[in-house]
Amino acid sequence: MKTPFDLELAFTETYQRYLRDDPALREAHCLWVLLPPLFDPPQPGDLFAGRMHYPAVGFSLELASGGPLYYCHAERILPHLDALHPEERARVQAMLDFWKREATIEGHLLSRLPEETRRATSNHVAEMGGRLAGTLLDFEKLVRLGIPGLRAELAKARRANGDLPLYRGMDLALDLFVEIIRMYAVQTGGEMRQVLENIAVRAPETFREAAQLAWLYALVSGTVNYGRMDVYLGDFYAADLDSGRLSEAEALALTQSLWRLIAARQTVFNGRVYLGGRERPNEANADRFALVAMEATRTVIEVEPQLTLRFYEGQNPALMEKALQVIGEGRTFPMLYNDDVNIPAVANAFRVPTVEAEHYLPYGCGEYALDHRSVGSPNCSLNLLKNLEVVLHNGRDMQTGEVIGFSFTPNPSNSPLPQGEGLGVRGESAFPTFDSLWSAYARQLEYYIEKLAERHRLEVDTEAEQAAFLFCSMLYDDCLARGKSLLGGGARYRGGLIETYGMVNAADSLTAIKRLVYDRKLLSLEELVAALDADFEGYERERRLMLACPKFGNDDPEADEMLCRVSDHVALATLRQAERVGLDYFLIVNINNYMNVTLGGQTIASAEGRRAGKPLANGNTPTAGNDTQGVTAMLNSLVKADPSVHAGYTQNMKFSKSLFREQLHKVQALLQTYFQNGGAQAMITVVGRGDLENALRDPASHRNLIVRVGGFSARFVELAPEIQQDLLMRTLY
């Protein structure tokens, strides 16, 4: 009998059949059942084959490509359960029950999590999910070798290490890949068909073949970032153009089509395509493609791909010129990354030699990894402002009422996670000096960070046991040579990341408390906390005092030093975990997606004057509207935190169209100086004055107004109202 979930059921049966087999073989057989039906036919206008959808049960890397890992999205099935024939309903129900135990994260990981670790990583300060984000495959190797070449590599590795199940799984995966290519070849005609037939049997020889191969491989692998495209397509592009096989217009049309396919995949926070930067062996050809790629972004008005430009002193200036033209037209792309700052910073933070750091790439919302060398997923979030709320309330989350942190008493015993409230004094007696408050704040953060690191390690091990990530492993250093899977010891560097939020708010709050309570003694800590608890109702004077304190983003030494203090502490406490839990790196990022709005909603009023529930600052950018001293002051503040102890802070800035149009040379000078001063990156939104306001009033005629939210760009009119408000509040320069 046919149900809407036949594929899910067949996939589940295959998984059960291979349950006791090696995870590499189990994965290969599961993918053989799962993948072919997921590929949809090309749509009119597509110049490449490759569109897909994702089922409710399956295997992939992360949510953006269906997952995470072996997953079951019961919420997509349950609403249809009643409509099924009773017999089928029982089968589907049995499947749901099976995955409750067997899903990699919901089943395996959660069942082996110690209770304390679970509690310490499942609250509104520290929260952790599970996935494998941020894989960066070696597409250059793929298009250079083609499928036969990959097979040969596999054979060579097999000769060295024996006929490992991993290699057999990879062989099966490559067979499947060829199968999918042939399936598309049959469905299509003309040049597309010829391209598909060619890449099934030999290495690509043209731009179109290379792009087609890379695109389909990305889809089967589940990866959602697309590598240094100028490097791996540059030579094909140049050769096709120089030989007359392709005109510039045709090459642009192909790139535009690829861009539309990437956009249609809707990976939202991902979809990165990289251009520029050091360590491109074919730099001249790569530059030629980079210019076409940026032109495609200028002309295809979509929020993906998230085009990313690395640059360094001495790079072909045409790239930056083109980038500013595209940014100036309001595309929010490319995002700019300064190699001269990032490479040494990454070398230090990841503890790798410079030659490795030169391969850094910021994936997703801006988390750094080393191209086809490192894998380190950001699976946890840490709300640095909420931590202060909990410290000021004796371990209590004031929104849920739960005790989730330490009890800080006059004689702190600091037992981890107390059962009930301790001696229960909030206020002065607990924190006679600012340093005592600071150390409570720092100590509690360390506790959460330790637990997050332990959980991350446990997750890596669980995932390694459950899956071999065959398609990823084949294109990752040094999986083939070592005969080990991506997470099972194959990837050269295995790490993890914590996404931090509210760093700027926490710093500004601490600045205000230090100044008002301890330095100038204008308020007692009790009065200040009472004002926060009341969300400033009846405490307008106190709120004014807090608002008047210095804020990050104004080149003010007092505020900026506190930001650095918080940043350094969290970054170093996290960095130290790697060795303790046995990872190659464990680092924080300070990025944003829409979590600043979500987590702000979970946090009561704070001492920088922010009202309860209001959004947190966006990445390492001043809280919306708090930067009042001009753009140079803001840019000077941005560069103060040490870039060499973390894996990426995002810097959002909003400029007016008129500034870009009328004073472009001044914008260039601003950015150039910012980067020379140590600016690591910039995400720039350019909008006309009044555009956002007009779009709120008349959404229909502002469909193409694209804004940078944080780690992703979006059509302004499609955003939730509270995110729209947050964007409106940000200072427009």
Binding site: E540, R541, R544, L545, A548, D555, Q629, G630, V631, T632, A633, N636, L659, Q663, H665, K666, A669, L670, Q672, T673, Q676, N677, Y733
Partner: protein, 307 residues
Amino acid sequence: MIFDLQRTSLHDGPGIRTAVFLKGCPLRCLWCHNPESQSREREISFRPKLCALCGECVRVCEQGAHEILPSPCALSLGERELHRYHRSLCQQCGRCVDACLFDALKVAGTEMSAEQVMAEVRKDRRFYESSGGGLTITGGEPMLQLEFTLELLKATQAEGIHTCLETCGWASQRAYQSVLPFVDLFLFDYKATDPVTHRRLTGVDNALILANLDFLYQNGASILLRCPLIPGVNDDPGHLAGIAALAQKYPNLAGIELLPYHNIGNSKYERYGLVNPLPGLETASETVKQAWLSALRGLGCQKARLG
């Protein structure tokens, strides 16, 4: 005595600049959009909209300049009228400004030493270098505080930072002679051509101004002529012809900028208890601006552009 210090100033000279606004001006231009720049004294601005009637200012004021009427009066006066600020009693001591938690009271006029200003100026040094920017001293009229201006110019130039001086042109020739070596670019205002009109619009005759312009030009100063144009007030054909004539007379001017009127300063008068001499002026429209430009082009003045 300065009343503002703006970083990332993009409209007062070349490149990215820091602008220092000095307090006090010998002119009283009817359209002035910085009324707090006129008096040489400290002034206190009051914005009733922000006042929370908390009474802190009443408590600290020894002169009794602040008064909060009992709340029943709000029925007849409206809530905003309850706080009375009696400027005639005020000694500008600024205690009420420090006490005000709501930014309703603010002071215009801070004493700063040249070295204090330099500390701010230095912060953006690298932005000046990359953009060809620097320091702009403006006002008010910087020449009224000649010693300070001279000291700041010298210190700035000594550090290799580009200097602009914006001036209305009304000071002694001796004063201009003394600053001349330390100014890389003069932003020289030109407001009306006809002497009688000039007097009516600004309060002073323009003979001295023109003489100073000539002196600076003849002594090799680099000069950007800045012409505020206020629709219906000074944008008459005679004045446009006057601008064109100056362009012809002084072919080596660094440029001519037309500064179209903008009514952003209107709300400021009230805050300082001043009377706006020309209320209700309209911000110059795009059409009007283009008409000025084409008129000047017609008179052979190619240098003019909108600032």
